[in-house]
């Protein structure tokens, strides 16, 4: 795979991660347990949408075929999306959505940090901005995980179940393929093995403070990065893309 093709594919993966997580969070608007959380959830989702827009725009430039951010978001099919499976999992209850974001952000913050030191200038710039946002998201999610884990018996049990279920989707974050390898080798991009160590340390620390148990590393799901998704993504995209698909060529 050429250097340019790998950067394009990698940029789209990053963009898809941000967009799909944002879309799931947007579904939660008006359903949060407290008004303050409405503000936080919307604020974080806005950050992810902003990141997706910058990344898709860059992908369009790299590709050179005139595709816009909206072409990537609204006119691609399920198998063309390369987001992590974790991020397309249904919202469930507050603890499910929280654990999903916590596990991802704990990874994403180190990933972005590594990207700020890569040799691709645009990715560096985007990551430098995003890492500040995600650092804050992670702090917010960590605090909530501790509150739920060390809150009531009910909240402890619920969020432990959320953690146990979501864990199977964490392996994919660190399972490098040829694109990850090319990014690491060609543009001094993230080293997934190193990030796995950092992630594990951070997650262990918060999980321990939350008085929760770290699940066992047993079977791990994979396929998102390669466009093989779970059933949820098709519905998510059908809803998100419907206006662009119903009125092809229209501007909004």
């Amino acid at each position: 795979m050429s250097n340019d093709a790998a950067v394009l594919a990698y940029t789209l993966r990053l963009a898809d991660n941000a967009l799909i997580l944002a879309q799931c969070m947007v579904e939660l608007v008006t359903a949060e347990p407290e008004l303050e959380e409405e503000l936080a959830n919307a604020n974080f989702a806005l950050d992810y949408i902003g990141q997706a827009r910058m990344l898709y725009t860059y992908a369009g430039e790299l590709e050179g075929k005139g595709r816009s951010e909206d072409d990537f978001a609204f006119m691609r099919d399920e198998h063309e999306f390369a987001n992590l499976l974790l991020l397309e999992q249904p919202n469930g209850h507050f603890g499910d959505a929280l654990v999903r974001q916590f596990l991802f952000d704990a990874f994403y913050v180190h990933l972005l940090d590594a990207i700020t030191r890569c040799s691709d200038e645009r990715l560096r710039e985007i990551a430098a901005r995003a890492v500040k946002e995600v650092r804050y998201h992670l702090r917010h999610c960590s605090q909530w995980l501790v509150r739920l884990g060390d809150g009531t018996e009910l909240s402890h049990n619920r969020v432990q179940t959320s953690l146990d279920y979501a864990w199977r989707y964490t392996g994919e974050m660190f399972a490098g393929d040829e694109i990850d390898q090319a990014i690491n080798a060609d543009i001094d991009g993230p080293d997934l093995e190193a990030i796995h160590g950092l992630w594990r340390k951070d997650v262990e620390s918060v999980v321990a403070e939350a008085t929760l148990s770290l699940p066992d590393d047993s079977w791990m799901a994979s396929g998102g990065k390669q466009g093989r998704h779970t059933e949820q993504l098709g519905f998510l995209l059908a809803e998100m893309q419907y206006l662009q698909r119903s009125f092809p060529g229209a501007t909004w």
Partner: protein, 328 residues
């Protein structure tokens, strides 16, 4: 403004300790355009009127997130999605600081939320209408936020300081909301025939409910005079409605859309647009709970509250544990 002043009867009694002297001194301060602050003496009826008005306004912001939230997952571009999300987030923020402003008058947010959830408290009738197409998001920004601004700008000069100051920020954001709504309509009207038809359909459905937002005619508005004397209200319902019609009809012309009112015409003598009779029965029906979405809006709010109970309880339990640990 998102309060239509329809549930006021019998609550504005003067209480015994309110001597003529105190009342006169209070009115003098209001007349001198001094701001009344939370710890200042105020007549009980003034306090109650403000609690009712500010909490209704806060509830309207919170319920108002729903019709727009309905299109967040389906917004037609990433830019539109981001703008709409920022707008809905603003509304949550407005709700939050309006509840805070009301709390300065001695009512708790928990109590206000409980009143909303039980159906006791009112919110603006407009949010009981459904958003059926993307153009409705444009129409809400343009018409509903436009009508709200007409009412809210004078509230920045309201005699009660905390409310007036909250409204300064609310108005700045509402003005942005109104412009984004008009921009959606403008894009649709410049678009395909189907998009323009979508915009016209939205105007047809939102026009009359928007006019109802200003509340009953002045002749029917029972407590307006007292609110005017207290400088909570600066203009009458009919004055504000007329101002809204005058501005908005010209904007509809610019967009190439028709206002759904056969009696609408410009009156050269008065310099204002004359418009047809509002279907007041519809307004009273919606306020009585019989609008298209009253049940859904309230149920959604109740569900979020009930579903979130375990989360709030966990946060409380954790805070108690932390406090106990700190004390140990």
């Amino acid at each position: 403004m998102y309060t239509q002043g329809l549930d006021q009867a019998g609550k504005d009694r003067r209480v015994a300790a309110e001597t003529e002297e105190l009342l006169n001194a209070f009115q003098k301060r209001v007349d001198a355009e001094e701001k009344i602050e939370a710890k200042d003496w105020m007549p009980e009826a003034y306090r109650r009127t403000l609690i009712r008005q500010i909490s209704q306004h806060a509830h309207s912001e919170i319920i108002g997130m729903q019709p727009e939230g309905n299109w967040l997952t389906r917004a037609p571009s990433l830019k539109r999605k981001a703008i709409l999300l920022a707008k809905v987030q603003d509304e949550a923020g407005h709700g939050l600081y309006l509840y805070s402003a009301a709390e300065t008058l001695g009512v708790s947010r928990d109590q206000m939320v409980a009143d909303l959830l039980s159906g006791k408290a009112k919110y603006s009738s407009i949010f009981n209408y459904p958003t059926l197409s993307w153009a409705d998001i444009g129409a809400i920004g343009w018409l509903v936020d436009g009508a709200a601004i007409m009412n809210q700008i004078p509230l920045c000069r309201c005699s009660y300081g905390p409310y007036a100051r909250a409204m300064v920020r609310v108005c700045k954001e509402e003005s942005f909301h109104q412009r984004q709504g008009f921009d959606i309509m403008h894009s649709l009207c410049l678009g395909t025939a189907a998009q323009k038809a979508m915009a016209q359909d939205a105007l047809d459905r939102w026009w009359w409910p928007s006019l109802m937002m200003f509340g009953p005619n002045d002749s029917e508005s029972t407590h307006s005079a007292q609110s005017m004397a207290w400088k909570i209200k600066r203009f009458s319902n009919d004055e504000l409605r007329q101002k809204f019609v005058d501005v908005t009809v010209q904007q509809a012309d610019f967009l190439g859309l028709s206002v759904p009112d056969d009696e609408l015409r410009f009156d050269d003598e008065t310099g204002h647009y004359q418009f047809g009779e509002i279907n007041w029965q519809e307004l009273f029906d919606v306020i009585a709970g019989n609008g298209p979405c009253n049940k859904q809006r309230l149920e959604k709010r109740q569900r979020a509250h009930t579903d979130g109970a375990w989360v709030r309880e966990a946060a409380q339990a954790y805070a108690s544990k932390q406090a106990a640990r700190a004390a140990a």
